[in-house]
Each structure stands twice: as structure tokens, then as C-alpha cells.
């Protein structure tokens, strides 16, 4: 059998794999990337929300755009991406068997990067195999790649970022999300993601999980019930929803099978099997690297940096880069990665109960239970400020590594400071010019422009809006509170769209002054 030789074989054309190939190719390494899918980019092309982080992490850019940019960069550098290519084996001496179409090809590489990502976890409940029970990833694939609704009435199990983001996306696609549930006692993902869903009126059921999904040939309903601290159902707490679709978002597991089959030393200590790696992803076998979710579940933003770190180390390993230059580059990248691993949701804080913010402010407990900060709680955060004239109100109440709002405002109305996890401050005495850039810059859609009084007894609230149909000036409707409940009647006074807002529309509604600090969403009558 003929063996084809390659310098660098990357398995997986997602954010980590592409970034690694790009970084290595920059130093002259000839890289080939295999991916079993018919399209490259991994899950990036399903990510239609704006990313978190700072500018260097491509914050406020939507995932699919980041995917397009990566592919362009890879192409420019001559990285070869082979699709419909399933890597079926990784053997000693870096021999790799790939099934491409109907053909099986035997390769041997000087260096290998495994960037196979992760697969979705599943939980068992009665009816879990019924058609209509799908992974949250499946919902994203159907909506954002194939442009169909996964279902009409959807129940979401899981309130991590995947569950929250996919719920938002379901609403954007025009599906009805009837509720979210999580067996954990608190919402696992970012509060701002939860708030986007809660303000549309979707309820959260914490310490609840699915008891049974019913239906003959497909899902027609779901029964959930409350669980105690030992995750046992509490009788009499059952709730029933008529739905056609159940979305399951209960975590991800690294797809490390290739690494295991090659005998790489694995680490099982954190409840999941990941390869033992140094900071560049170098495994126990020289020349074999791992990056992205396969080396530990994180975000696409971190996967891209990890990929670049591996790519640089591989370039040095293959002699294309001096070890000094590579070390220097890896140091820089590691700083950038560390900045993403800070704050309340940092890897080391998983499972910890955090009561106060870095600023010493008590966390909103309601945000953790119901997905929104109450009207009373919001006033204690530094993003909340009262002024007659228009000014930003920043409803960002958890320390997450994200700061685009600070640079979005040219007038200095928003301050985060040096530390990117600090809560944004709405700066007293600053002069907001109502440009709306902050509202559109916030990946969490947590910034509102508020004018306490624009005419006697009335003020205006500007909200980010990523739904269709877009309201028009003069439209009537209801202003909804953070809890998604109707507060009062309202009239739309202005609707702004702009290339600079990148898909986020700014909708301004007029409400009686007494509701100015409460109205955070709009619903048309009917």
C-alpha cells in the first residue's frame, strides 16, 4: 500500500484546527486539514450571535463571519482543506488512515494536530429516543445552516450557554420556546444570555428536569418535575407542556478517540477524558498535538487561540521557526487566552458558588433562578444610572471577560477599565450623543439607552432587537419588563438599522416615566 507523506496533518477544520494550520503555514509549514463534514468551519457557521471578549478575541463579530475570515486566511496561506474526509485511525509513527469518499488513503505525517472538537452529551428520560427529541446542536444546524425550523413549540433542557444561546436562536427563527429547565439549582450560562430569553416571556424552571416525553411516533408533550438536592423527583411538582420538540443541551464531551487509539496519555481527573498536554497542546507523543474542545471544553474564542499556540509550537517542532520565536509567540497568545479564562465563569470557578462580584456587589439571585435581574436589584450595579437626558444603562451584572462597549463609546460614557471582567460603569456627567453604538456592540444585548423624560410624563427606552418583523415608527404595542410581562402600552418612536450595528436593530419606544427603568422589551399588539 502506498503511503502519502505530509508535513502537518490537522484533523478537524473547526476554529482550533484552522487556526493551527494558519499559524503553522505562516512559518512555511505545509499543512493539510481533514474534516469529515462537507463544509469546513466546525460549529462556527452555526454561531449567529456576536462573540464575547475583547478586540483581539474578535469580540462583537458574529461566529459565522469569523468562520469566513478563517477560511479566507487559510486559503491565502495555501492550507489544503480536504472535506468529506473521515480520519478513521491514528497509529504509531504518526500514520493516519483517512476515508475520503469511497477511498481509503494511508498517510504519514511529521506532525499531527488533533482538533476533533466535542460531541453532545445526552440524558435518559422516558421517551428520549422519540423523533422530535434533538440535540441543541441539531437545532442550530437546522436553523442556521439549512434554514428550517427544528420545531414549532420547543422545550429546552439545559441552561448552560448552549441552551441559552440556542433558545435565543429558536426565538429568532420564529419558533416558540415554551420553557427552559435545568436540574441544577441555578442557571449555568451567562446571565445576559438568559435575560435575552427571559425578557421575551419564556419561563425558567431550575431544579427541574424531564420526567417523561410523550408521543406515539413523535413528540407531542413533555412532563417535567422538580428535583431535590439529590436529583430525585419531588412528587406532586409535575408540570406539563404541549410541545413538538425537545432540545437537549446538557454539556459536551471531548472526542478524543483518535488520541486514545494512538496510546497518548490521557487525564481522567476532571470527569472527562482529555489528553495530558503542555500549554501548546503537545501530548505525551512528540509531534502530536491537541487543541480546542478535544483538549478540554471551552468556547470557540479560546479554541482559536489554543490552535494558534499549537500551530506555532508545531512550526518550531518542524524546524520552521526558532524555539525562541515560538516561545515568544506562545507567551503572547497565552496572555490573550488567560484574559478569556477570567471572571465568574472561568474554568477554575466551575461548580463554585459565587455570592458577590469582583466589585463586592451582591449577585442577582433572581438572575440565577429566573433569568432576569429584578427592578430592585438592577439599581445596585454600576451600569445603572439615572439622568433626564439620554444615557446608556448597562445591565451587565456578572464578571465576564468582555469589553467592546467601552471602546464603542467615543464619548467616554462607558468605563470598564484595565481589567476586562470588571462590570461596565455608566459614567456620571458624560455626554451621550445617542449614537447607539454601545447597544449594538454588546454581545449580551444588555445595553439600553434611556431618556427619563422626553416630554411631560414620558421618556424613551432604546432596546437591541434581533427579531422579525421589525417594528416601524408609530407602531403601537406593549412594553415588557425584564421578566417578559406586559408593563404598559407603548408607541415606537424610532427604529434604527445600520451596517455599523451589524444586524442588531435599535428600537426606541416611548413609555410613561414610571416605567422607564423597567421596560426592556417590545411586543406588538396581536
Amino acid at each position: 500500500m502506498k503511503i502519502e507523506h505530509k508535513e502537518l496533518i490537522v484533523v478537524g477544520a473547526g476554529p482550533a484546527g484552522l487556526s493551527a494550520a494558519i499559524e503553522a503555514a505562516k512559518s512555511g509549514v505545509k499543512a493539510i486539514v481533514f474534516d469529515e463534514n462537507s463544509k469546513p468551519g466546525g460549529q462556527l457557521f452555526k454561531q449567529i450571535h456576536k462573540f464575547f471578549g475583547s478586540k483581539e478575541h474578535k469580540a462583537k463579530i458574529r461566529g459565522f463571519k469569523i468562520g469566513q475570515d478563517l477560511l479566507q486566511e487559510a486559503e491565502k496561506l495555501g492550507v489544503e482543506v480536504v472535506l468529506n474526509a473521515t480520519v478513521v485511525g491514528l497509529y504509531p509513527e504518526k500514520e493516519i488512515i483517512v476515508k475520503i469518499g469511497g477511498e481509503v488513503i494511508h498517510y504519514k505525517a511529521d506532525a499531527v494536530l488533533i482538533a476533533t472538537g466535542a460531541s453532545e452529551n445526552m440524558v435518559n428520560f422516558r421517551g428520549w429516543t422519540l423523533p422530535g427529541v434533538i440535540g441543541a446542536g441539531a437545532a442550530q444546524t437546522m436553523m442556521n445552516l439549512h434554514h428550517i425550523k427544528p420545531g414549532n413549540r420547543v422545550f429546552m433542557l439545559g441552561t448552560g450557554n448552549v441552551g441559552l444561546v440556542v433558545s435565543s436562536q429558536l426565538l429568532q427563527a420564529g419558533c416558540e420556546v415554551v420553557a427552559l429547565a435545568d436540574a441544577a439549582p441555578k442557571i449555568g450560562g451567562y446571565g445576559v444570555h438568559a435575560s435575552k430569553v427571559a425578557r421575551t416571556g419564556v419561563p425558567f424552571y431550575l431544579s427541574h428536569t424531564i420526567k417523561e416525553v410523550e408521543g406515539e411516533d413523535h413528540v407531542t408533550g413533555v412532563t417535567i418535575a422538580q428535583v431535590d438536592e439529590h436529583f430525585q423527583f419531588i412528587p406532586g411538582t409535575e408540570k406539563h407542556f404541549a410541545v413538538d420538540t425537545i432540545c437537549v443541551a446538557v454539556g459536551l464531551s471531548p472526542m478524543a478517540q483518535l488520541l486514545k487509539m494512538d496510546g497518548i496519555v490521557m487525564d481522567d481527573t476532571k470527569g472527562r477524558t482529555v489528553p495530558k498536554c503542555d500549554r501548546t497542546g503537545a501530548t505525551s507523543i512528540p509531534g502530536i498535538y491537541a487543541a480546542g474542545d478535544v483538549a478540554g471544553i471551552e468556547e470557540a474564542s479560546s479554541a482559536m487561540i489554543e490552535g494558534r499556540m499549537s500551530g506555532s509550537a508545531i512550526a518550531a517542532y518542524l524546524g520552521y521557526l526558532s524555539s525562541d520565536s515560538s516561545e515568544h509567540r506562545v507567551d503572547t497568545l497565552e496572555n490573550s487566552l488567560s484574559s478569556l479564562r477570567q471572571g465568574m465563569f472561568a474554568p477554575e470557578n466551575r461548580g463554585k458558588k459565587i455570592e458577590t462580584t469582583e466589585e463586592g456587589i451582591a449577585i442577582s439571585q433572581n438572575l440565577l433562578k429566573a433569568g432576569f435581574v429584578t427592578d430592585d436589584e438592577i439599581t445596585r450595579f454600576p451600569g445603572f444610572r439615572k439622568e433626564m437626558k439620554v444615557h446608556p444603562v448597562l445591565e451587565c451584572t456578572q464578571n465576564i471577560p468582555c469589553n467592546p462597549c467601552q471602546s464603542a463609546c467615543a464619548k467616554g460614557c462607558i468605563s470598564i477599565g484595565e481589567h476586562m471582567t470588571s462590570l461596565p460603569i455608566s459614567v456620571d456627567g458624560s455626554t451621550c450623543v445617542n449614537c447607539g453604538m454601545c447597544v449594538a456592540s454588546c454581545s449580551g444585548q444588555a445595553i439600553f439607552l434611556v431618556a427619563e423624560e422626553t416630554r411631560a410624563g414620558f421618556g424613551e427606552v432604546t432596546i437591541p432587537y434581533e427579531f422579525l418583523p421589525l417594528p416601524a415608527e408609530g407602531d403601537g404595542g406593549f412594553a415588557l419588563g425584564r421578566d417578559g410581562k406586559k408593563l404598559c402600552e407603548t408607541t415606537i418612536t424610532r427604529v434604527r438599522t445600520s451596517k455599523a450595528y451589524d444586524g442588531t436593530a435599535l428600537v426606541t419606544m416611548e413609555v410613561p416615566t414610571e416605567y422607564i427603568d423597567k421596560a426592556r422589551f417590545y411586543k406588538k399588539i396581536g
Binding site: 463534514n37 423523533p131 442556521n144 434554514h147 425550523k149 420545531g151 413523535h218
Partner: protein, 106 residues
Amino acid sequence: MDRIAEHPILGNSPEGKMVTFTFDGKELSGYEGEPIAVALRVNGVMVHRYTAKRHEPRGVFCAIGRCTDCVMIVDGVPNVRTCITPLKAGMKVETQYGVTGKEGAL
């Protein structure tokens, strides 16, 4: 399930070429090149196969070719992952019973 005609972020859905195919002998239509499973879902088909032992219905679960719950008989070939197999004009798609057979063959 419906197609999303217009999306607030993704804009208008791309217009594909509408082709016809058969599902258990019934003529249906879908866009050429989209996954067979997507065309089926738009036509309201949720059950792709029945399991061998318990005769339980199965449909799309992961939609990315990983779980194999959505396999069907396509142009006579069983165990085809319909969520990642592009639809072609005239395809013959059939519900799968067990791992290979058709109903009655079990």
C-alpha cells in the same frame, strides 16, 4: 416544520432548485443539495426508521452525521445517514426497519 423564509440575522434563505423525490412511494419535494432529513422534516416526516427488536420509531437526533439515528434506505442502500446526505432529484427514500430490512423482512 416550516422553512424560515427570512431571518433577522441571516437574511433571506437562499433559493435552491426544487426537485422531487419519493418517500415510501409518495412523491415529495425539496431543495436539491439540502440534507434528505431537512427535506423530510419540511414535509412533516419525523420517523426515519423503526428499531429491530422493539419496533420503536427513531428520527433525527444530532443532525451532523454522528449518532446514526436518522438512517434510512436511500436508492436501495440501507443505513444512509439522511442528515448529511444531499438530496438529489428522483431519489428513492424509504423507512428502514431494523438494520437493513424492510417491514415484514424481520
